[in-house]
Symmetry: C2
Subunit: 198 residues, 2 copies
């Protein structure tokens, strides 16, 4: 067999290159040639990793979604009180916001894919799956918080979960448009989550 390369690693690197291009110049900047250049591989390599451009974009979409989930996990682990439900809740939602440069890039990628999801049902299904995971996590956190008394018992979990997700998305849009700074958006989010505590 000829020289072997790690296919999964290459796919991840390409997906990362796609995200960087979309985050900098939008979806239309993610041409196969530009992606190859950004990932420092040849055009042929990109074509062998992904049968078609659409397949590449879907993988990149799942890639950025995984990054958000991963960032939530990391923020929880690094937080001063990893065991506190309120902390976990806040850190999870913060991971969805554009609070730092990395998050800002992901937010731009997120809205690009979300806009595309509005007209391509297959992409919308991918996004809904991501949101389903986030919603489930929030439900678990809220329920655990109510059981150990950290979350007010009168909070209606399902509707509160939806409201928190809606708030995070709305704030992300506001930050991207420059109507909120990352700091002010974070403050709004924290005011909301602290309102849930006992």
């Amino acid at each position: 067999m000829p020289r072997q390369v790690d296919h999964d690693d290459r796919r991840r690197r390409i997906a990362q290159a796609v995200c960087e291009l979309i985050g900098r110049d939008g979806l239309e900047a993610a041409t196969l040639r530009e992606v190859a250049a950004q990932a420092e591989v040849s055009l042929g390599a990109v074509q062998r990793c992904f049968r078609t451009k659409e397949e590449m974009l879907v993988f990149a979409q799942e890639h950025v979604n995984r990054r958000v989930t991963e960032r939530a996990r990391a923020r929880i682990a690094e937080s001063p009180e990893p065991g506190s439900v309120a902390t976990m809740l806040e850190q999870t939602l913060t991971a969805m916001l554009a609070v730092d440069d990395e998050g800002l890039l992901d937010a731009r990628v997120w809205i690009a894919f979300t806009a595309q999801s509005a007209v391509v049902p297959a992409l919308a299904a991918v996004q809904r799956g991501h949101y389903a995971g986030l919603a489930e996590l929030l439900v678990v956190l809220l329920r655990a918080g109510q059981e150990n008394g950290q979350i007010r018992p009168d909070v209606e979990i399902e509707s509160e979960t939806d409201a928190l997700i809606t708030l995070a998305d709305g704030l992300t849009v506001q930050v991207l448009l420059g109507r909120h700074t990352p700091e002010s958006a974070l403050a709004v989010l924290q005011r909301r989550t602290t309102g849930l505590r006992t």
Copy 2:
């Protein structure tokens, strides 16, 4: 002078065609040729109305923004209690949501332009201008409501305005992704606005 056509009317018709194409298949579907076909004019006519494609897209962006404002005005006029501040507030915010087919189309156009605004500062400025107008309107409504006792006096107007806009945007995203129906989004919005009443 040769045969004269109404330039402004033609520009509006072209902008409408751009919105229909973007609402159906996304920003990339708005090529000059497709726009010309949708507007039932020649490619040359589109080029003479707009010096460049970007100029056309900016005009279309302002066009859909004007439609939202116009819809808010129409909803207020048609509402059962045009004089009630609470009604005006609710109808204004409803105009920002994708509550009917026309609104759904506009919402898809909105998110397409918003995504582009995240990477093109010039477009972001246009969007910010639109939001500034909406925010000013909401501030006026809330203040008037407080003065005549229809809105709770403890509502902090500036932050509430931002919160309402953020909520409307977040709900729009959720509807576009299929995580909210137009009806459920409207219900969330109404619950929020009725909470502001005395």
